[in-house]
């Protein structure tokens, strides 16, 4: 495959591009779902193609193709060059890339069991077993369970001499029970709306214990129909699991993508309040809040040896002892904050997409509290762990998140189930109200598999690990 990649590199070098790279990607994905005792999705997909980036007189061009022969690769390289020339005619300042040494390497996701070697029969048996349990109650109107596996084989080559081969693996499972009556719809998901997937093999599915939890999920979905409405007011909030992962994702992850901070996403998802003059001084959260970006995190959905700039994966503090300490960066933009090396956050979701800055695996470091001790420290509060809806403003300040259910806490004791909990806040005020984080025994990885960004839109994946965390005096509505 590198022989083919070199054809593109030769064309770009001949035409005096400042920089160029090619990614050739061979991907297989399997997606199975069962819905209300019927097959919902049953697909086994393969795709292969390549994408070529060119930097010419400071302007970017990108073109992709799917025919893997020398003629097509060369033609596509020339197309990318033509586009780069057009870009160069509308540039204020020429794009320059931070230095990265050339790498010649192979990397793959560590795993125990290849999910593509597990028999389809076994996978379907699991999904139908879950479905049987979920649909045992007629008040469940919609029972949905799925398994998804993706294996991505990438070859990367650049005009700087890098040649990197990687094999990445994704395995995930999920189900949801939806109950309804004349006036409402309620749902419970397992393990959570955004969770259930990791960068590992079939062992992820085995560890989830999906069948074992199905009865509980069904019963909770039904119980929500008659549960009381979540009260409104100011309360203490314990966030955990899937919901804390989303909180990190939306209010820290996106806010600290440097391209967004600099304004390059303004036309779509917006920009960020965490502007560069705040770096090193802005109190993003309380002193116990440490949020770390990590492209090397074992099992992380964004874990790989190298990003799509050919930069070796790294680990760094985005928030350190509550202070804004860093951003997600790539080779193009890291220089704008005086950094000489990229934090390896440039990723594309397919061969036909251009790499852009993406949230890395971004995790809240554990604290030193016991979880039960945190609950005992709440006089009037609520525990939320499974996300249902999410919305945040275009500078990542005003957010509103809804959860599937909540458990009230009164005088240190868990008091009861409530439905339709929603909480709202302003990002730095919220993170500064964090006064306790549970210890490492509770620290777990949660994956987000549907992060959308860019134009054309790309979907990316990453993990947010955390232990439960407590936030004081949060506005809980409806």
């Amino acid at each position: 495959m590198f022989d083919l990649a070199r054809k593109a590199i030769e064309v770009l070098e001949f035409n005096k591009a400042e920089f160029g790279d090619i990614r050739i990607i061979d991907e297989r994905s399997q997606f199975l779902s069962v819905k209300n005792s019927n097959i919902g999705d049953m697909a086994d997909d393969i795709s292969m193609g390549f994408g070529i980036r060119v930097l010419y007189r400071g302007g970017w061009g990108f073109a992709s193709g799917k025919t893997l022969n020398a003629a097509c690769v060369k033609e596509t390289a020339l197309k990318a060059l033509e586009i780069a020339k057009a870009s160069a005619s509308v540039k204020k300042t020429k794009t320059k890339l931070a230095y990265e040494p050339a790498h010649k390497d192979y990397w793959q996701t560590p795993y125990l069991k290849d999910p593509f070697e597990i028999a389809l029969e076994k996978k379907l048996e699991m999904l139908f077993a879950i479905d049987k349990i979920l649909t045992a109650d007629k008040r469940i109107k919609n029972a949905y369970s799925r398994l998804k596996f993706i294996k991505t084989h990438k070859w990367y080559a650049s005009t700087e001499g890098s040649e990197i081969e990687q094999v990445l693996l994704y395995s995930g499972g999920f189900y949801r029970a939806v109950s309804a009556d004349n006036n409402q719809v309620q749902q419970r998901s397992f393990p959570g709306e955004h969770s259930g997937a990791l960068g590992m093999g079939w062992e992820v599915i085995e560890d989830l214990k999906m069948v074992e939890n199905a009865q509980r999920i069904r019963e909770e979905a039904v119980a929500l129909l008659s549960a009381p409405q979540c009260p409104s007011g100011e309360m203490d909030l314990i966030l955990m699991g899937d919901q804390l992962a989303l909180q990190i994702h939306e209010s820290v992850g996106h806010a600290t993508e440097l391209d967004r901070v600099l304004g390059y996403e303004e036309s779509y998802a917006g920009s960020s309040f965490a502007t560069t003059e705040k770096l090193g001084r802005f109190k993003y959260g309380s002193e116990i809040v440490n949020i770390v970006g990590d492209g090397t995190l074992p099992g992380g959905l964004a874990t790989q040896g190298y990003d799509d700039d050919g930069v070796r994966s790294k680990r760094w503090h985005v928030i350190k002892n509550g202070i804004l300490n860093g951003y997600a960066t790539n080779r193009e933009f890291c220089g704008r904050i005086g950094q000489t090396e990229s934090m390896s956050c440039n990723r594309a979701d397919s061969f036909s997409s251009i790499p852009i800055t993406r949230i890395p695996n971004l995790s809240l470091m554990p604290g030193n509290h016991e979880y039960l001790e945190m609950v005992e420290g709440v006089k009037n509060g609520i525990i939320l762990d499974s996300n249902k809806s999410w919305s945040i403003d275009q500078k990542r300040l005003n957010f509103q998140f809804g959860c599937e259910s909540g458990r009230l806490v009164k005088n240190g004791k868990i008091a009861g189930l409530v439905k339709n909990p929603v909480y709202q806040g302003i990002t730095p005020k919220f993170w500064n109200s964090c006064d306790a984080i549970a210890n490492h025994r509770h620290w777990k990885l949660y994956g987000v598999s549907n992060c959308g960004k860019g134009q054309p839109t790309q979907i990316s994946r990453m993990c947010h690990a955390s232990s439960p965390a407590r936030f004081r005096k949060v506005r809980i509505c409806m």
């Binding site: 292969m48 540039k91 134009q455």
Partner: protein, 439 residues
């Protein structure tokens, strides 16, 4: 493509087989900080292949059509089918004698626009903004797509379409303004879009803070379309009706909205027209969703039609799927009130340019949340008075529809997660804003 489809059918070795073939060529030039920040082109094609045997479906998709790739994919399918059980609601592949070759939404000039064309448009905007101390962001995108749906029962439908999109956001100090246009051909007024975004940005400087609460709102087409799209997705999708997740489940045939509210799903010849057949190859029908304020119909696929006894309206997504049928070409019939008149008639309210990051809190009541963006203005005594800081709304789309006081005279077209929609501006009373933000 036809040769590849025939090849696929040969490899199916007599099994019932359906192919959904997609080919798309798309180019997009992105503007950021008064320069071209990204510039991309992609040319891809792939086929979704479904095979059926003994009451079971298996699907795969691929973008390589050489004999070896097809042989491997089909072998995998044959083996997989052996492990599967017969499906409860299995339906064989569709048959229809109707042949559709839709090309009226394809324009060769639009398909062939060059990187230089897009760069020139970008240059005009960015040069002006740089001169005036403004900052421009946005996209110019053009592309063509081809969809063919064919099966071994003789179905063969084809649709070609082109698209040209231009979106502009302008920053003027603390103010932001935006405007956009979408067309199937070259009929897009780039200068007018630039002028609108710039004017809104200039008017949006130094916004004041107002208290959250209920306001009469004049919703420009984009925010109005957000409400319309959510109504379609959560209300009129057939599967949601069957499972009682939709408000329509208890209200079919009831008059819920003002007389002048008319919403149709029209893939054939309406403002939001596109592919005139569904993903099984069945011709789409125009479906009245709301007629004179009465909740009239849902959209169906064969499964939902069978369960409800309603007519099959041709709204199937690729089968099998877990979503059920979706309205993908929703349009609201324009009324007689211009946007200018809507503002003039408003004693006290808000003019909203955009809704941002909308989501649904409660599907049954379609309670939504989202932020205002890129131009939010206080209206007093029929005039735009001041720019205001952005607000979060939390409101039921159903309640909003019940409170529509006027419908605009011109619909704008938008792309969404499931197809297109066309919506005019709306005036809605008592629209609830639950909180505000700092800008």
């Amino acid at each position: 493509m036809k040769k590849n489809i025939e090849k696929i059918f040969r490899h199916a070795e007599g099994m019932a087989c359906e192919v959904i073939f997609f080919r798309a060529k798309n180019a997009l030039t992105r503007i950021g900080d008064n320069e071209i920040s990204q510039n991309v082109f992609s040319d891809n094609e792939y086929a979704d292949v479904r095979v059926q045997k003994d009451g079971k479906n298996f699907k795969f998709s691929l973008n390589k059509f050489d004999d070896e790739s097809l042989k491997n994919a089909f072998n995998n399918a044959f083996i997989s089918l052996k492990y599967m059980k017969k499906e409860k609601d299995f339906l064989p592949l569709i048959k229809t004698s109707v042949r559709i070759n839709s090309q009226r939404l394809h324009d060769a000039e639009t398909a062939g626009l060059s990187a230089d064309f897009r760069a020139q448009k970008a240059k005009k905007l960015t040069a002006y903004c740089a001169k005036k101390g403004l900052t421009a962001y946005g996209i110019i995108s053009n592309g063509s797509s081809e969809v063919i749906i064919a099966n071994t029962s003789g179905v063969y439908q084809r649709a070609l379409e082109t698209a040209l999109e231009y979106e502009v956001t302008v920053k003027c100090g603390s103010g932001y303004g935006a405007a956009a246009g979408y067309s199937n051909n070259m009929d897009l007024d780039f200068d007018a879009i630039n002028a609108t975004a710039i004017k809104k940005a200039e008017m949006s400087k130094n916004p004041i803070e107002i208290k959250p609460g209920k306001y009469t709102v004049v919703l420009e087409p984009q925010p109005a379309n957000e409400l319309l799209s959510f109504m379609g997705y959560y209300g009129f999708a057939g599967q949601a009706y069957v499972e009682k997740r939709s408000f329509v489940s208890e209200n079919l045939g009831k008059k819920m909205f003002p007389d002048f509210i008319n919403v149709t799903d029209n893939a054939l010849d309406g403002a939001a027209a596109s592919m005139p057949f569904d993903f099984e190859g069945w011709p789409k029908e125009k479906v009245e969703l709301i007629a004179n304020g009465v909740v009239k119909n849902i959209v169906t696929d064969r499964n939902v039609a069978k369960k409800t006894g309603f007519r099959y309206t041709g709204h199937s997504l690729p089968q099998p799927n877990s979503y059920g049928p979706m309205p993908m070409n929703i349009e609201m019939k324009p009324g007689g009130t211009s946007l200018e008149k809507m503002v003039k008639n408003c004693e006290y309210g808000l003019l909203i340019t955009q809704f941002h990051y909308t989501n649904c809190l409660k599907p049954k009541t379609i309670e939504m949340t989202g932020m205002t963006r890129n131009g939010t203005f206080l209206i007093k005594d029929g005039k735009i008075s001041k720019a205001v800081k952005n607000l979060r709304f939390t409101h039921s789309a159903i309640d909003a529809f019940k409170n529509i006081e006027a419908v605009g005279d011109k619909a704008e077209v938008f792309g969404g997660y499931f197809g297109k929609s066309a919506c005019p501006a709306l005036v809605v009373k008592d629209f609830n804003f639950s909180s505000g933000t700092q800008f």
